[in-house]
């Protein structure tokens, strides 16, 4: 069904279509219903849902969708003359979400999306499409749930050259790590509990292996540094190897363990290089990120004039995500929209990835070794030969199971590559009962 309507103006309602009516889609409808009056006041005009599309029309979502036009084929939303903005809440980096997004922007309609995977993979193409069509492309909900951190970087820190952007970008991992910390339970048990409580997906790989955080980091880096989104070059390691013993050890040393995504631009003789990494880190108590518990997200941006800024809040959930989607819609209704990545797509630079081996770092290294004489000498000799200087070393008492003993250490500050080199010297050693775990210590 297609209806004709007058061209949108700045006082006529902003007419939206929603594709995808999962918890977030239903949340957006509930929010627009609940806060309708206040939104119309702040936006300067009402925001009205006119059409929706999802897999199953009949499903009970707790909100009345019978009042909206229905499209079986979601891309039909992009062709409706009575729609100004399409809200894409389908998910997936490609497929129907991408097709709908291209069609919507191609038709000159605004696009609001919560789809971090799609923006991480196709953000540049979509931004150029949007700019060519003079249409809005907004994705506040793609990073940090309800935290206005895309806006924070795009507009709040816009006068700054950022030196660094980093943070806790995945609520599932943070829930797992902070629960392990609080309860002493093991990874697998906490993951199962998180799945039961809805804090982790049935297939948790994207979260616990760091891919979801990497999507978000790539988006933040692009906005923060004016670079093309470069998800492919994010170095990612997840939290699956972190044991409760590591968390206890870190605690004894004054640290917590958090999955941190961090990005910066390094000036090298060959020109600027972009470093993007997601990995579990030791975070000193006293650092603002050490106090971030549960499914909360937090992003730190360090600007050359602003200093360190922290944005923190619920990283997921239908309410917070709907709040971010609706904030984007209000911006569009207010006509406060510009380049999706802060500078026009054509001007985003393509930076090669940085090689961080020379960077100074303190590192936590944990070995699981055979409980036999000479092992400690073997480890320390390798570290010496790799030029790694040990600040503190803790050997746990005899293990209960299978003669396995944990040896944990913290290095003095030294080039990152030295740890890699030292561990290479130990490769193949039959003293090691597991791959050593290397966790950098986040600078204060």
């Amino acid at each position: 069904m297609t209806t004709t309507a007058p061209e949108p103006s700045r006082t006529a309602p902003l007419r939206i279509a929603i594709a995808g009516l999962g918890t977030v889609g239903a949340g957006v409808i509930r929010l627009l219903d609940t806060n309708a009056q206040l939104i119309a006041m702040r936006a300067g005009r009402p925001i009205e849902v006119v059409a929706v599309s999802a897999r199953d029309r009949g499903k009970d979502r707790g909100v009345d969708i019978a009042r909206f036009a229905w499209e079986d084929d979601m891309t039909a939303l992009a062709r409706r003359d009575d729609v100004d903005v399409v809200v894409e809440l389908v998910g997936g980096s490609d497929g129907p979400a991408l097709a709908l997004s291209r069609a919507s922007l191609g038709a000159g309609k605004g696009l609001v999306t919560a789809n971090k995977a799609m923006i991480a993979h196709h953000g540049l193409e979509l931004a150029k499409l949007a700019e060519a069509a003079n249409a809005a492309l907004k994705f506040e909900a793609a990073v940090g749930g309800g935290i206005p951190v895309i806006k924070g970087l795009r507009e709040g820190t816009s006068a700054n050259a950022l030196t660094k952007v980093y943070g806790i970008l995945n609520g599932t991992c943070n829930y797992i790590l902070s629960t392990m910390e609080r309860t002493g339970a093991d990874f697998a048990d906490v993951l199962a509990e998180a799945q039961r409580l809805g804090f982790a997906e049935a297939d948790p790989a994207f979260d616990i292996e760091g891919v979801d955080a990497a999507h978000k980091l790539a988006i933040l880096a692009a906005i923060g540094f004016g670079t093309q989104v470069d998800f492919a070059n994010v170095r990612v390691s997840g939290i699956t190897e972190v044991r409760s013993a590591d968390i206890a050890q870190a605690a004894a040393l004054g640290f917590v363990i958090r999955l941190i995504g961090e990005a910066d631009v390094e000036d090298t003789p060959e020109g600027p290089r972009l470093l993007q990494r997601v990995r579990p880190c030791l975070v000193a108590r006293g650092h603002p990120l050490s106090a971030v518990e549960g499914a909360t997200n937090a992003v730190v941006a360090e600007g050359n004039f602003s200093g360190r800024l922290l944005f923190q809040g619920a990283g997921a959930g239908d309410g917070p995500t709907a709040s971010a989607v609706a904030a984007d819609l209000i911006d569009i209704a207010r006509d406060e929209v510009g380049a999706p990545f802060s500078i026009p797509g054509d001007h985003l630079s393509a930076l090669p990835p940085a090689e961080p081996g020379h960077r100074p770092a303190r590192t936590y290294i944990r070995f699981m070794v055979k409980d036999r004489p000479g092992v400690l000498a073997e480890l320390t000799a390798a570290l010496r030969d790799g030029d790694v200087s040990i600040e503190s070393l803790i050997q746990q008492g005899r293990s209960q199971s299978g003669g396995e003993v944990m040896v944990a250490m913290v290095t003095h500050e030294g080039p990152e590559r030295c740890v890699t080199q030292a561990l290479a010297l130990l490769e193949g050693s039959d003293s090691l009962m597991a791959k050593p775990l290397v966790l950098p210590i986040l600078p204060l």
Copy 2:
């Protein structure tokens, strides 16, 4: 001197004039110089200083101002045809700052200001002037230094009905309280040290008595709740009565003491009422505000969909403040400007102040009493008669000085007015050697 120039467009430079060249004014010039290229890219056009005004033309400010036109009379800036936006960094709620602001907006020029006192007192009038002239009025730097919290409330949480806005809004007080906490030193000594280090003004009254925080709170409340700025009805108490012994006592109970500004709207049978208060509070360790140290500021906004959001960063200083001023200028250059208080001035509601006496609260009460028999019975009887239920009570050992003994207690949750009533029963008692100190406990 007046020059003529073409009407500003969205690609021509945004031409600004700066009134006031103290550390912040000089910081803005330094920022616009240092980050010029990046700002032009993000703003879509250059931002150029064309004219300045200050008290002393010859003073060395570390930046070259000879390249700019000079006006002895700062209100002349508002009359220059070659100026699009006036940046007011003079300070003071009235006088020259207000005259310049009125003249600039009256002439249809944008106004960017860091002047919290002026916005707290005259924000509504200036917003209406700006809206009538279709000119920008922006004041990100007025609250929270470099933290984009005005933007956070105006745009980031725009889809939410806020239930509460609160935070640490004065860096001087937070520096003093967190230093007292860390060192055990007394208020007067830490204040003197803060003055020596530049964290406190020579005349610190505005800061330590809570007035500065009240200015900021009134601005946040207006944006968060869509109300007319109502500084006159902020209930203010400062930190001058807080002793190091209170901080130690709070620490023993698991709390820190912070000066908190908080605002909410209460629905009463007589209609909505606005509550705004600034006062030292006990903040439980584990609350995000408890970890805010030194001159840092932090604001929490709780939305009905977003949940709790935290914005944190440097609350003052030339770099952070310049960052906020320049972010406002970039917004204006991008033409991303709307109602200064999020909704048009004519629609901001005038809410009567709320009476909080019935609200449930837990409270810390500290008495300094004569060291003689029966005093504890006198205190506890008054609390019983006021219907205050005591959760824990600590009587310090004998005092070194003058037979003064400290008795500190934490109440169970009960109506706020009961504590007031109980203390009224003790008024005039010669057992009390100082006015009792009442510090509410911030809910988690």
